[in-house]
């Protein structure tokens, strides 16, 4: 009897979660397939996008990881780069401190799978009454994870069968970051930090060259942002 109630509860949570993830399905399959094909074009077998999409589950970091795998062996830069790219997750975590606690073992998976999309849904969605919030958030995260994983794996496999010339497909990464950048720009009231990011990167690229400019850029960004920090101002720090 208890098992029946439990499985009803799970079914209800899954049914409530699924509609929220439909747009993510479209976007993750497009980007996941592209990521898999991109990995294939870069010369990686499908195991790479498959395992990386499963274990990293952070889109931008995975694209950059591919670039880094093609470059020189530099674990410290890989770590620093990932920390900086995904630094925003720190702040998602800060917003989810209450929601991602008290759900038992599911908390671990929820935090592991806290990509931009899972965060946005789980942070904003109105969980219908009678639906278990923990399981709802769990299914949102799981579905997103599955979309990304299956898309990337299929792309990696399917990339081998592609008959058309894929030269230039790697531009998808540039286009993706341009659009994300533009979206954040349009949604933000202040543009100083955007310009600091662009400016610091261009400056350090000119000084340090293409292979060594990332860490100086990240330091410069942190320093510049810290200089503009006004601790005494109450409320919004901007």
């Amino acid at each position: 009897m208890e098992a029946v109630i439990k499985s009803r509860q799970l079914q209800k949570a899954l049914q409530a979660a699924f509609p929220y993830t439909i747009p993510i399905f479209a976007s993750f399959w497009f980007l996941g397939l592209t990521y898999g094909i991109f990995m294939h074009v870069c010369g990686f077998s499908f195991w790479y996008p498959m395992l990386m999409s499963l274990l990293i589950f952070a889109g931008s970091a995975e694209f950059v990881a591919a670039q880094m795998l093609l470059g020189a062996f530099n674990p410290l830069q890989a770590l620093a780069m990932t920390l900086m790219i995904n630094a925003r997750h720190l702040f998602y975590g800060i917003s989810m401190l209450d929601k991602y606690r008290g759900n038992g073992w599911k908390d671990l998976y929820l935090i592991f799978g806290m990509c931009d999309e899972s965060f946005s849904i789980n942070y904003t969605a109105q969980v219908p009454p009678g639906v278990d919030r923990g399981w709802f958030m769990f299914f949102v995260t799981l579905l997103n994870h599955l979309y990304w994983f299956s898309g990337a794996t299929l792309g990696g496999l399917f990339g081998a069968l592609l008959q058309f010339d894929t030269t230039g497909l790697d531009f998808v990464m540039t286009a993706m970051f341009v659009v994300i950048f533009l979206e954040q720009w349009l949604q933000s009231r202040q543009h100083r930090s955007a310009l600091i990011g662009l400016g610091a990167a261009v400056l350090c690229l000119l000084i340090f060259g293409a292979d060594k400019f990332i860490i100086p850029t990240m330091l410069l960004i942190l320093i510049a942002l810290t200089l503009f920090y006004k601790p005494r101002k109450r409320g919004s720090a901007l």
Binding site: F73, A78, T82, I94, T174, V179, E183, L198, A237
Partner: protein
């Protein structure tokens, strides 16, 4: 690829470690019910934009302004991506449009 399989495992391991650190650290550092430091809140607001600005440049780091098409393909394709995004503001359309345009440019026109 110039790396050995072990080196690749270490590199991917670092990316996994870095990602997990950014996701788990807040839950370890900030106990329930205590306010988050103001400086951390500030960074949360301003870092993402700077990060994505840096990533755009990172993608373009190997573009040579002195040889080949002098970055013309990249410039035109980014302009189209931005234009599409202002027009429809649909992420997938902008990304797909810009990428396909770039592929056509480098394959047929600016070879």
């Amino acid at each position: 690829m110039t790396m050995s399989l072990t080196e690749q495992f270490i590199m991917v391991g670092m990316v996994i470690l870095g990602t997990m650190l950014t996701r788990f650290l807040p839950f370890l550092f900030f106990p329930v019910g205590r306010p988050t430091p103001k400086y951390i809140q500030y960074l949360g607001q301003v870092l993402p934009l700077a990060m994505f600005g840096m990533l755009v440049i990172y993608c373009l780091k190997d573009v040579s302004l002195l040889s080949g098409s002098h970055g013309l393909a990249e410039f035109l394709s980014i302009a189209l991506t931005v234009g599409l995004h202002f027009w429809r503001r649909q992420m997938l359309l902008s990304i797909a449009g810009g990428t396909i345009f770039y592929m056509l440019l480098v394959q047929y026109i600016l070879v």
